[in-house]
């Protein structure tokens, strides 16, 4: 059973055909990195997977259950999208923490008020997660009192508290100083070791190489090349991929 399955996804903004035809399956415990130049469609693909954008064509499924599909040339979305949303979490580039909530409340509010779980139980889990991410002393702080790296770790904890089947990261370190990037990547790496299913859109090539089970290179709204990191980085097949990777070699 695959956790996420996207088949022949298309997406346009007006005349701009951002995703031409992308199919992608992610299995349980798999860590997939998506790399590619700006405007290649990688972030849009993530936004389609997380229902922040509607797809223009194709099929989107979680755990083999269809969330969106085509019927007579029109895309139909499942009625109860709340059920679909329970399958995934998303970590944003700009964190998007709720500024008026403390760190702890940021983490616990959705499990309590959306999933209707027991407040004390959720709180205990949240504190354990914060502790694990080295944020135990920040539970009562407000987001604007945190560094960028701390904010991003809190937003990872917030997503994890919903116990998603798959976690998406949309350029999780792009808004961070290089110095703070490491602490966030360390956390993602730790999750990978625990076999969390993850899809990471990233510009951090060395990270993609070290952590991913599979790396996908997207350009012009299509998958150009994909494979194990050592294949894609070590034995690049396509000229376009080589060109792109060239920019990251020092």
């Amino acid at each position: 059973m695959s956790i996420l399955s996207m088949e022949h996804i298309q997406k346009s903004f007006g005349d701009n055909h951002v995703i031409k035809d992308i199919s992608l399956t992610v299995d349980q415990g798999e860590v997939v990195s998506i790399i590619g130049p700006s405007g290649s469609g990688k972030s849009t693909l993530l936004r389609c997977a997380t229902l922040l954008e509607t797809i223009g064509g194709g099929t989107l499924s979680y755990l083999d259950e269809k969330a969106a599909w085509e019927e007579n040339g029109k895309v139909i979305y499942k009625k109860n999208l709340g059920e679909v949303r329970r399958h995934f979490g998303l970590v944003f580039q700009n964190f998007n923490l709720f500024p008026h909530y403390t760190v702890l409340k940021n983490v616990t509010d959705a499990p309590v008020s959306v999933l209707k779980r027991d407040r004390e139980e959720v709180k205990a889990e949240a504190l354990a997660l914060l502790e694990k991410m080295g944020l135990a002393d920040k539970a009562d702080a407000y987001p604007d009192q945190l560094s960028g790296g701390q904010k991003q770790r809190v937003s990872i904890v917030r997503a994890l508290a919903m116990k998603p089947d798959i976690l998406f990261f949309d350029e999780p370190t792009s808004a961070l100083d290089p110095e703070l990037t490491g602490e966030v990547l360390k956390v993602i790496k730790q999750l990978a070791e625990e076999k969390m299913t993850m899809v990471v859109v990233t510009h951090e090539m060395s990270f993609a190489r070290a952590v991913s089970d599979r790396v996908i290179f997207i350009d012009g709204g299509r998958i150009v090349e994909q494979g194990k990191p050592e294949e894609l980085f070590g034995d690049t097949q396509h000229e376009r991929t080589r060109q792109f990777l060239q920019n990251y070699k020092q």
């Binding site: 997380t50 229902l51 922040l52 709340g82 949303r85 329970r86 995934f88 979490g89 998303l90 944003f92 700009n94 998007n96 923490l97 709720f98 500024p99 008026h100 909530y101 509010d109 959705a110 008020s113 959306v114 999933l115 407000y142 987001p143 604007d144 917030r158 919903m162």
Partner: protein, 233 residues
């Protein structure tokens, strides 16, 4: 209202000393506070409703609300007071009771200020980053939860300074009520100043002090509320 009965009597007495004048102003300030308080009670929530109308998916509701805001902002409040006061008689031919003016003044103030509040709310809502909505959506918050738990508290913090401005303006705008012969403090101050044997211009100066002290209080309270919301960015 009691003040309406009280005022002519005071004016009729020949001895309008400064203490008497201050007492009269203080009493008439009750009318000012009445207009001020009920206008806020009505206009602050109505402004939210107007904002929703502006954002409605139903086009005729949007047109109506946009037209309403446009007229409220584009014509003098004094004229609006007169229109509201005379409309039942001139448009519907209904003869209203004498004290209708006490309600008419509130209606006019409320619908006028609601239009301004709606625009302030709109600017507040529009300043919330779209990422807040997206984060809430991904976490599964319902539309109502997103609005009340995530967006509204942030919006309130952002609109406090312009709302304070509007509230202070309202205190001073109450003087426009004289247009339909509602005797609030400033109207009375003018009457006293113009009557023979009164302290004259000092009366208007005293009225100014009443406004200033009250607005100082308003600003103080609003700053306290702002400070309370300072715990987040």
């Amino acid at each position: 209202m009691t003040t309406s009965a009280f005022v002519p009597m005071l004016l009729a007495t020949a001895k309008m000393t400064i203490p008497n004048m201050l007492l009269a102003l203080a009493e008439a300030f009750g009318v000012t506070l009445y207009i001020f308080g009920f206008t806020l009670l009505g206009a602050l929530p109505l402004g939210m409703l107007v904002y929703f109308g502006k954002k409605s998916r139903i086009a005729p509701i949007r047109w109506f609300v946009n037209g309403y805001i446009s007229i409220m902002r584009g014509t003098p409040l004094m004229l609006q007071l007169i229109v509201v006061y005379f409309a039942p008689h001139l448009v519907f031919g209904v003869t209203m009771a004498r004290n209708w003016r006490n309600l008419a003044v509130l209606i006019a103030f409320i619908i006028n200020y609601a239009a301004y509040f709606a625009e302030i709310y709109r600017s507040g809502f529009e300043s919330i980053p779209v990422g807040q909505y997206e984060a809430a959506q991904v976490l599964g918050y319902s539309k109502a939860q997103t609005f009340f738990k995530i967006i509204l508290p942030q919006m309130i913090k952002r609109v406090l300074p312009p709302v304070t401005n509007e509230i202070i303006t309202l205190v001073k705008d109450t003087s426009l009520s004289s247009a339909i012969a509602v005797t609030e403090m400033f109207t009375l101050a003018k009457k006293i100043a113009n009557s023979p044997g009164s302290p004259g211009m000092i009366t208007l100066f005293a009225a100014g002090i009443f406004y200033y002290v009250f607005n100082y209080l308003v600003a103080f309270v609003m700053r306290r509320i702002e400070k309370k919301l300072d715990y987040f960015e």
